[in-house]
């Protein structure tokens, strides 16, 4: 380790955390408190006016959450981060800083079904209009850009299809359009892909998945890459113009290359309210300490199971980018050389009924709506996470009626293969 470049596993354990000054506690304490006392009236005024760094109220910031924020920022190579209550909350808070009613953003069509719903319905009610593009054809993003476009949104590894997005190609479109690229890096985690290195300006996560890793805590996070100039053309007044919420402060001018994370905190989290519980932050921090080890095992198991499935007579197709003959294998080798993740789909020759039958007969795989757990998980997206889409949209999202999604855990792979084998026989 050189002084200036500790490795990923070192950051996963140490970044953001330091032994507690009062007690010497080595593990990050859970600061389970709503509020923090001020030194005096002047100190309180300084904190409220953003003139001093410090803690006020857990809806705006909390020392346990702050350790989580710095850790994920360090793992992603960003300048700062903001933890929120869920991945969905992260998306609302990010877009609130960028879009006004009537504005647009361009999003990849292959996304987590919950994001498709949020973008299509909930955001429409805010007047934020989504235009869809095909992540397999980056030029479709360019065609979807209009003068009202304020951001581009993609997933690094798409849920549920497990397909890999050509981040650099979409980043080039975003740069040309003069808008930030937002990458949801949930399924890759920074261990497999660091989108900022490929041109992302903002990274979001559902921490609930691989980062926390144990299926016990919801959380979301926004990472500021510190790369976007918010003030160059007046398109982003939340960052470039005097803010009446803070007596006329201009956030980018004041906070430089971490202004977006500050905007998300003091204009988004403060006013919308989706704060992360410090207890959840503690659970997620504990999970992150073993992220490198878990991701290695998740990927090793996934590749073995994908290979085994692709030789099984009942299986029609396996969509795992880690397989040499997969359409996305070249992108996987470029963007995720350590492994293509642990969420992928396959289809059974018996179609919809065979998929439903498989899910009901599995004994170790859990049938539920989550991914990125230590436990192996299975779901039939067409009838659950993507059920609100019509059949054509389901297929475009990689969630056709014959598709089964797996999230491979870190159990012994022989036991997982045996479970799939008995359920398909």
């Amino acid at each position: 380790m050189t002084d200036n470049s500790p490795g990923f596993a070192t950051l996963a354990i140490h970044a953001g955390a330091q032994p507690d000054p009062t007690t010497g506690a080595r593990t990050t304490p859970i600061y389970q408190t709503t509020s923090f006392v001020f030194n005096d009236a002047d100190h309180a005024a300084s904190l409220f006016g953003l003139q001093a760094f410090g803690n006020i109220y857990t809806r705006i910031g909390n020392p346990t959450n702050a350790v989580l924020e710095e850790r994920v920022a360090a793992l992603e190579g960003g300048t700062a981060a903001l933890a929120v209550a869920s991945g969905h909350a992260a998306q609302v808070v990010v877009l609130q800083q960028l879009l006004k009613p009537g504005d647009e953003f361009v999003a990849a069509r292959k996304l987590y079904g919950g994001s498709i719903n949020q973008f299509t319905h909930a955001f429409k009610s805010f007047g934020w209009n989504v235009a869809w593009a095909d992540p397999d054809e980056p030029e479709t993003f360019e065609r979807a850009v209009t003068p009202r476009t304020k951001a581009i949104f993609i997933e690094s590894i798409a849920n549920p299809s497990g397909s890999i997005t050509d981040i650099e190609a979409v980043a080039a479109v975003a740069r040309k359009a003069g808008v930030p690229l937002i990458v949801d890096n949930t399924l890759a985690s920074p261990y497999l892909i660091r989108p900022i290195e490929h041109g992302a300006d903002i990274v979001v996560h559902s921490l609930t998945k691989f980062l926390a890793g144990h299926g016990n805590s919801l959380g979301g996070i926004i990472v500021d890459a510190g790369t976007f100039d918010w003030s160059k053309d007046g398109k982003y007044p939340m960052l470039s113009e005097p803010r009446p919420e803070y007596h006329g402060i201009k956030l980018q001018e004041t906070f430089g290359n971490f202004a977006f994370a500050i905007a998300c905190r003091v204009l988004g989290l403060r006013d919308l309210g989706p704060a992360l519980s410090p207890f959840n932050a503690f659970m997620i921090l504990t999970g992150i300490e073993t992220l490198p080890l878990r991701m290695q095992k998740h990927c090793e198991n996934s590749k073995a199971i994908a290979e085994w499935l692709s030789t099984h007579p009942a299986v029609a197709a396996v969509n795992y980018a880690g397989l040499a003959n997969n359409k996305y294998n070249q992108l996987a080798r470029k963007y995720a050389p350590k492994g293509a993740g642990a969420v992928f789909t396959f289809s059974l020759k018996g179609g919809y009924d065979a998929g439903v039958n498989l899910v009901s007969k599995l004994k170790l795989f859990s049938h539920l709506a989550n991914v990125g757990d230590t436990r192996s998980l299975v779901i039939h997206p067409a009838s659950t996470t993507h059920s609100q889409l019509d059949d054509a949209a389901k297929t475009k999202a990689g969630a056709g009626p014959d598709i089964v999604r797996l999230s491979i855990g870190i159990e012994d792979k022989e036991d997982l293969i045996a479970d799939l084998d008995q359920a398909m026989s």
């Binding site: 500790p6 140490h14 003139q51 960003g78 905190r265």
Partner: protein, 194 residues
Amino acid sequence: MNHDAYDDTYIRSILNSVKTIAMVGASPVNVRPSYFAFKYLAERGYDMIPVNPGHVGKSLVGKPFVASLKDIGRPIDMIDIFRNSSHIMPVVDEALTLSPLPKVIWMQLGARDDAAAAKAEAAGLKVVMNRCPKIEYGRLSSEISWMGVNSRTLSSKRAPMPTHGQRLSLNRMSVGGGSTLAADRAAKDKLDPA
């Protein structure tokens, strides 16, 4: 001196050694970045002097404005320049006429003038460009981590006890932490598009 990336030890040694700081371009308007930085550094014990000919007769957190560096009338350790890159050179020229010479020229976030830096360095001064001393103090003390900022430091030592309630001091042992290469590259591209 590589002005694209500074070692933490360089920044820490400056912030640990200077006592008197003249801030050129300080604003009495309490939502301006210079006001924030001035107040923050004054609260951390630096002897701050606001320099701005447009505000002589007023004061900034109790410190009277002076019109120019020459009007300060006592030795200054560091000059923190809150001006655009195009206004740096005259300030450096004036600084180099002072006796005794200041030890450090610091140019704020977004400000960089390599020729002015070279001139100051040739006279034996240390130079920092395109940084904010408030942010650097907050980063190296880890105080800025409370805002979720990547401090780019790691430490396994017990953190120093906060002074004055939540304030942390620079008295903290650390090694390098998570880098922010993309942001550093973007900053360089913005200041030097060629």
